[in-house]
Amino acid sequence: MSDAPLLQLEDLHVQVEGKEILRGVNLTVRKGEIHALMGPNGSGKSTLSNTIMGHPNYEVTKGRILFEGEELVELEPDERAKLGIFLAFQYPTSIPGVTLANFLQASLKAIRGAENVKPLEFRKELLGRMKELGINQEFAKRYVNEGFSGGEKKRCEILQMALLNPKLSLLDETDSGLDIDALRIVADGVNQLINPEMGVLVITHYQRLLNHIKPHFVHVLVNGKLVQSGGPELALTLEERGYDELLQAHAVPAGA
């Protein structure tokens, strides 16, 4: 089993509200690999990460998602989380009335098993991680994402990643909304978490994040298909040239 790649997408087709968004995506992420996923707005990047995490609105109409060789499509999001998949959301939602500390403790209990989470140790771990990510301790008592600024939300997503220690992390535009210092802190945080057992898929529009988190592979998603893959240099080329050529070459066929 351990030889199987962490993540394998095979000819993945996904519909939202009856509309086809992903139109045959193939992608393999192995342990220790960092993949960057780029592409124009609306090309389907978040659709891809939401689908891997199991969002009920995204319907897999064709193809497979394998995690360490196991078919994911029938699994609920919590079951996927327990396998070791983590999604840092592009737009983290707020949960009024639930403190960040309570939420994280419940989440950790669910993932690690309640018997493995002792309140005092949890508190220590939480505060330690918050400090590393430059998050004020007061946030532990605040309600999840409620009134958080864009950058604060993103830091808290990485805080969750740090605590849950997943095998596969999907980071959906974690850099958007971060100021220059925060970008560095968050990227450093992510780099510290990355280990040879972990795979990462970084969704981003900007090279600047990839200066910190250095990908082994870069892929370009256009209109629901991966149209180009390459090494880190591909990101630089895209930054120079933009998506125009690729968009023209890979327009959605009429009637699709």
Binding site: P56, P77, A81, L87, I95, V98, F103, S107, A110, Q160
Partner: protein, 469 residues
């Protein structure tokens, strides 16, 4: 399987107080409400003539008033099929050991004696129509705090009871207040003397045991100038296939500069009609806070009120309601600004699930002379599925221009995005919903003493497990 057991299964085993005891009572009235019954009750209690007169008058008022046309479905109540007076034991005891064994066991199961030892200043336990146990900490007694069951108060302090009984909620107020006044039994009487602050809560616990039972407790709380009290009541009943009726009257009088906080955690079984009249008068610079948690029951109609009688008075209602399958919570608040410079806030939160129905019914009234009024009303409803329902019926009668009134109402559904977010962090669907619900109720829960907050969180968790999956 007995029909009780069947009913129990039907509701998904999520009501853990549904057990009942065999009956071994000193007196149990036949079914139905008659003048003879009222005479008999009053005689057994050894009441003064004036109280009997009040009862007999109330009985007439009850018969003469039609059922309310609004609120919930009341026509199914069979007033002839109810036991109006059930006396489980001879007298109210001050020592748990003297309470009849089977009743003590029940209260043990409900955790009452334990709670008393741990964090209460006084406890009253009512079983059917009578208070069977009563105690108050000695130091409070020495300071002159009176905490008695209402029947004992009538015997020991007839003049005080006579002075205030029915002054906040007159017999004619509504049909169910009249019913209570005719057949009232048990309930609490509290008097906190001038300047005394009762810092830890006093609690009363109300338990219905018999089938087709009517419980009509009567509570009167008076705080003298500058004093403080926090009173908590809890209620449960067994699950039967036929209905019981709980119709209390609660009158609060907060004198100058005093504060009353009245907390209710009601968790009736789903065969109880809960029709309660609660009203307070707040005098100069006094504060009255109703913290009202409504879980369970078949139908609840309850609108705690504060009459702001003099300048500087403040009223607050903080309530939650939860309606599951076959339940209707018609709850709300009334704020009556009689005097100028008075303020009130209402925060109502309700959740409906499995076809349950919640309604917010509120009244804000400002008298012509009452200027400089601040009033804020907010009601939020959360629907957990498509079959459930929530309505708001706010009404305002404002006879003064110099008022600041805010009213806000929201209805929302548990969002897919919230569920997905929590589940993506490993929480099961049930746990995720319970967490969203707890968060929704948080403004209420954080006002409760810790022990009650924990218990309420647990109850909500149980309710969420009840029917999903």
């Amino acid at each position: 399987m007995s029909s009780d057991a069947a009913t129990l299964q039907e509701i998904g085993n999520d009501y853990k107080y549904g057990f009942h005891d065999a009956e071994d009572y000193v007196f149990k009235s036949g079914k139905g409400l008659t003048r003879e019954l009222v005479l008999e009750m009053s005689r057994m209690k050894g009441e003064p003539q004036w109280m009997l007169d009040i009862r007999l008058h109330a009985l007439e008022v009850f018969h003469s008033k039609p059922l309310p046309e609004w609120g919930g479905e009341l026509r199914e109540i069979d007033f002839e099929n109810i036991h109006y007076y059930v006396r489980p034991s001879e007298k109210s005891e001050k020592n748990w050991d003297d309470v009849p064994e089977y009743i003590k066991n029940t209260f043990d199961k409900l955790g009452i004696p334990e709670a008393e030892r741990k964090f209460l200043a006084g406890v009253s336990a009512q079983y059917e129509s009578e208070v069977v146990y009563h105690s108050i900490r000695e130091d409070l007694e020495k300071e002159g705090v009176i905490f008695l069951d209402m029947d004992s108060a009538l015997r020991e302090f007839p003049d005080i009871v006579r002075k205030y009984f029915g002054t906040v909620i007159p017999t004619e107020d509504n049909k169910f207040a009249a019913l209570n006044t005719a057949v009232w039994s048990g309930g609490s009487f509290i008097l906190v003397p001038r300047g005394v602050r009762v810092e830890i809560p006093l609690q009363a616990y109300f338990r219905i045991n018999a089938q087709n039972m009517g419980q009509f407790e009567r509570t009167l709380i008076i705080t003298e100038p500058g004093s403080y009290v926090h009173y908590i009541e809890g209620c449960t009943a067994p699950i039967y296939s036929s209905d019981s009726l709980h119709s209390a009257v609660v009158e609060l009088i907060a004198m100058e500069g005093s504060t009353i906080r009245y907390t209710t955690i009601q968790n009736w079984s789903s065969n109880v009609y809960n029709l309660v009249t609660k009203r307070a008068q707040a005098f100069k610079n006094a504060t009255v806070e109703w913290v009202d948690g409504n879980l369970g029951s078949k139908l609840t109609m309850k609108y705690p009120a504060v009459y702001l009688m003099e300048e500087g008075a403040r009223g607050e209602v903080l309530s939650i309601a939860y309606a599951g399958k076959g339940q209707h919570q018609d709850a709300g608040a009334k704020m009556v600004h009689v005097a100028p410079n008075t303020a009130s806030t209402v925060l109502s939160k309700s959740i409906s699930k499995d076809g349950g129905r919640t309604s917010y019914r509120g009244l804000v009234k400002v008298y012509p002379g009452a200027h400089d009024i601040k009033c804020n009303v907010r009601c939020d409803a959360l629907l957990l599925d498509e079959d459930s329902r929530s309505d708001t019926y706010p009404s305002m009668e404002i006879d003064n221009k110099d008022v600041q009134i805010g009213h806000e109402a929201t209805v929302s559904k548990v969002g897919d995005e919230q569920l997905f977010y929590l589940m993506s962090r490993g929480l099961s669907e049930n746990d995720a919903i319970a967490m969203i619900v707890n968060g929704f109720f948080e403004p209420f829960i954080k006002e409760l003493p810790l022990e009650y907050a924990v218990e309420l969180n647990r109850l909500i968790q149980l309710e969420m497990e009840g029917s999903i999956g």
